[in-house]
């Protein structure tokens, strides 16, 4: 086993190659093969009729973030700053406040993500010790008219639902 060196043969010395037309016609056979096949049945073309036809988004997909909530609707985030610390692009800004619902001590009063800075690496999800932030919204296309609108806040993050069932989401692996 192990690697062997192999010299690549140089083409171009044979008569059919020098005659040009012979080889070009052979090549045309391939092109026309594609042409007829696509003419008869264009379902196999690599064309996606976006936006009518959406791309396949799987549970591993790192889409726009959302903040998860408990069953009663209260936010799971405890403002521990782990995601903010682990973010390589420094795009998360949290302000912590006192929590009065007896679940935990703190909650975020401000949780902004600058989506123009975000590089969608998923490090915030990896860092979260409470499963409070996920990137499972399936949102991959973000367009706004100005920069300010690309700063998403606590309400919007908490209001966006996940795109997958809990079972499917867990199957993506950790």
């Amino acid at each position: 086993m192990s690697a062997k060196v192999k010299v690549v043969k140089r083409k171009g010395d044979t008569l059919p190659e020098k005659l040009y037309l012979v080889e070009v016609l052979k090549g045309m056979k391939t092109s026309f093969g594609h042409f007829w096949r696509n003419l008869r049945d264009n379902s196999r073309l690599y064309v996606r009729h976006y936006p009518e036809q959406q791309p396949e988004i799987t549970p591993r997909w790192r889409g726009r973030h959302r903040l998860t909530t408990h069953e009663d609707g209260s936010i799971k985030c405890v403002a521990c700053f782990m995601c903010q610390t682990n973010c390589p692009s420094r795009c998360i800004m949290i302000e912590a406040g006192e929590r009065l619902d007896d679940r935990d001590e703190k909650l975020p009063v401000r949780f902004d993500i600058d989506l123009l800075e975000c590089i969608y690496c998923g490090y915030c999800v990896e860092a979260c010790p409470k499963d409070a932030i996920r990137m499972d919204t399936g949102i991959f296309s973000l367009v706004e008219h100005n920069r300010e609108k690309m700063l998403v806040g606590l309400d919007e993050l908490a209001a966006t639902p996940g795109a997958f069932t809990e079972d499917d989401y867990q199957k993506r692996g950790l």
Partner: protein, 571 residues
């Protein structure tokens, strides 16, 4: 390195201090002996360090426990025949006075030293063309110095005319001022780029033309410079992984793997068997992707748009597979220090096999059009040929070096991740022309598929992450319920993985050539210095030599065939 080589060097350089770091020998030499040492290493037949991999400097201003001179320069050399890796290090007493340049020994040092001058402000005596390279010409200060503020961004208000360098280059090629001005032989100056579809990125190629023939060429890069190395100094080791995606973005996973491999080898981490095989499968898969992009673009430059669809359709389909696997199409961020981010998903073997079959079909359709096509032969054969010796001197590695007939491949010469267990060929060319560079890439794709298929049969089960609390994040279930795991999770996120103090270089065979990382660690969770040795930086450094005397249209083909990726070139 073997003991005999060290013995020879110890006799040759009695003044040097020898240390061994990983598989690299580091020689510390006094400043005045630096050039002499390098010259002997280059020319002495017993040593024969024909490949200058990289030149960099270290600023020890804030390095804990450091005394003496603030700067040091490091030359990384390789004897590819005997797999000897060497670093020559010298302290720099006064950066303004600097050290003697090695450009006369390796032309590759030209651009490498310019980069050091640009980033660290170290002067190189007898350097023919010491200008800034990654930062623009109006930039003030030297960004990689430790006292340079990362927020100190500067805007370029006016582009560099490059009149001086191109005239100098013309003079070197025997075109004097009177010929330039004479009405019968007047030279035309033509800028290709920086924003030009044929440059495949933002590169400025300034040519001096006689009709369509290139008399002289000077290139300006750095349009995509975003300070990867400076940013890396402010991030923990794992946080740099997503940044490496953006180096060679056509094969992001190869950068991910190369980066973590460099850190792991210093820390002595032996990753699990499954992770090793995963890395082999994925790096070969990404090598195919990279070659597909390069060849497709190259054939478009030649006017063969049909080939582009045959190759790119398959690449597009691969992105769907990649997004299922990693969660993103382009920026994989799939490795972590100590293993892989996630395991393969269920049923990946079928998807991978289908992907490989489709790619095979795409490549053979493309080859049916180009392999025996006389137009392709006449456009590419003996065009921009680069002999092996010159390619080595310019620091070429990877497919472009192999196309020149030099059978150097790290997978063969310094195998890692069980590469010695696979049965595959290293394709080499003969002439080093555009034709060879293309055909070597075509062949390499078939070889990569062979490796993937073998690895898929051999891949064992088991975890993809090592079991070490100081490196691996605890599993999420433990973090949710167990205070000890939670504490360890907090510690790893806040402080990062603690990497022992030291300096090392580690390399990896990426799609474009040797991708190396030179680290300096101060023992904390963030690298003190992280220097990338990007393969295409050195290829671009030899570009002028390849295209001078050729036609403008050939320069475009040549640029495509050396596969310049702006993200990696400019960092």
């Amino acid at each position: 390195m073997d003991a005999t080589a060290i013995e020879i060097m110890k006799t040759a350089f009695p003044y040097g201090q020898f240390t061994e770091v990983l598989d690299t020998v580091v020689i510390d030499v006094p400043e005045d002996k630096l050039h002499g040492t390098l010259a002997r290493l280059r020319n002495y037949p017993d040593l024969d360090f024909s490949l200058l991999l990289d030149v960099t400097a270290v600023d020890y201003l804030h390095y804990p426990g450091h005394t003496g001179d603030r700067f040091a320069v490091v030359y990384t050399l390789r004897n590819w025949k005997k797999n000897r890796l060497l670093q020559v290090k010298s302290r720099v007493a006064d950066p303004v006075k600097g050290v003697v340049s090695a450009t006369d020994l390796w032309p590759a040092a030209n651009w490498a030293e310019r980069e050091v001058f640009d980033q660290y402000g170290i002067n190189f005596k007898r350097h023919p063309d010491l200008r800034r390279i990654l930062n623009h010409w109006q930039f003030q200060g030297h960004p990689l110095r430790k006292d340079f503020d990362i927020e100190n961004r500067q805007i370029c208000l006016e582009s560099d005319s490059l009149e001086g360098p191109i005239k100098e280059r013309l003079a070197q090629n025997g075109v004097d001022e009177s010929t330039i001005k004479d009405i019968n032989t007047e030279v035309m100056f033509l800028n290709l780029g920086p924003s030009h579809p044929a440059t495949h990125g933002a590169i400025r190629i300034l040519t001096a033309l006689d009709g369509e023939t290139i008399l002289a060429n000077v290139n300006e890069i750095g349009y995509l410079h975003r300070g990867f190395e400076k940013t890396a100094e402010q991030r923990t080791y794992n946080q740099i992984v997503p940044l490496t995606d953006r180096l060679n973005y056509c094969s992001s996973m190869l950068n991910n793997i190369a980066y973590v491999k460099a850190v792991e080898s210093w820390m002595g981490i032996e990753i699990t068997e499954r992770a090793q095989f995963m890395r082999v499968v994925l790096s070969e898969f990404y090598r195919i992707q990279d070659h597909l992009v390069c060849l497709a673009a190259n054939l478009v430059d030649m006017g063969g748009l049909t080939n582009y669809w045959y190759l790119y359709n398959e690449k597009e389909a691969s992105y769907d597979f990649i997004s299922r696997l990693t969660g993103a199409r382009l920026t994989s961020s799939f490795t972590r220090i100590g293993g892989m981010y996630r395991d393969f998903y269920e049923g990946w073997e079928v998807d991978m096999e289908n992907q490989l079959k489709d790619i095979e079909k795409g490549i053979s359709d493309c080859l049916a059009l180009v392999l025996q096509n006389r137009i392709v032969h006449e456009r590419t054969q003996n065009c921009c040929a680069f002999p092996g010796e010159t390619a080595l001197a310019y620091g070429f590695t990877g497919p472009c070096l192999r196309a020149s007939g030099v059978p150097f491949d790290l997978r063969k010469d310094a195998p890692y991740y069980n590469y010695e267990a696979f049965d595959f060929n290293i394709p080499v060319g003969t002439n080093g022309d555009i034709y060879d560079r293309m055909m070597v890439r075509f062949e390499e794709m078939f070889e990569s598929m062979k490796i993937i298929r073998q690895a898929m049969k051999m891949i064992p089960g088991g975890p993809v992450f090592i079991d070490n609390k100081r490196i691996a994040l605890p599993s999420k279930n433990e973090v949710y319920g167990n205070i000890e795991a939670l504490a360890s999770h907090f510690k790893l996120i806040f402080d990062g993985i603690q990497v022992p103090k030291g300096e090392w270089y580690d390399s990896f065979e990426a799609a474009n050539g040797e991708l190396g990382f030179h680290f300096v660690s101060d023992g904390s969770g963030q690298p003190y210095k992280c220097k990338v040795r990007p393969p295409c930086f050195y290829k671009m450094g030899g570009f002028h030599e390849m295209v001078e005397g050729e036609m403008v249209a050939d320069a475009i083909l040549n640029l495509g065939s050396i596969n310049i990726i702006g993200g990696e070139l400019d960092r």
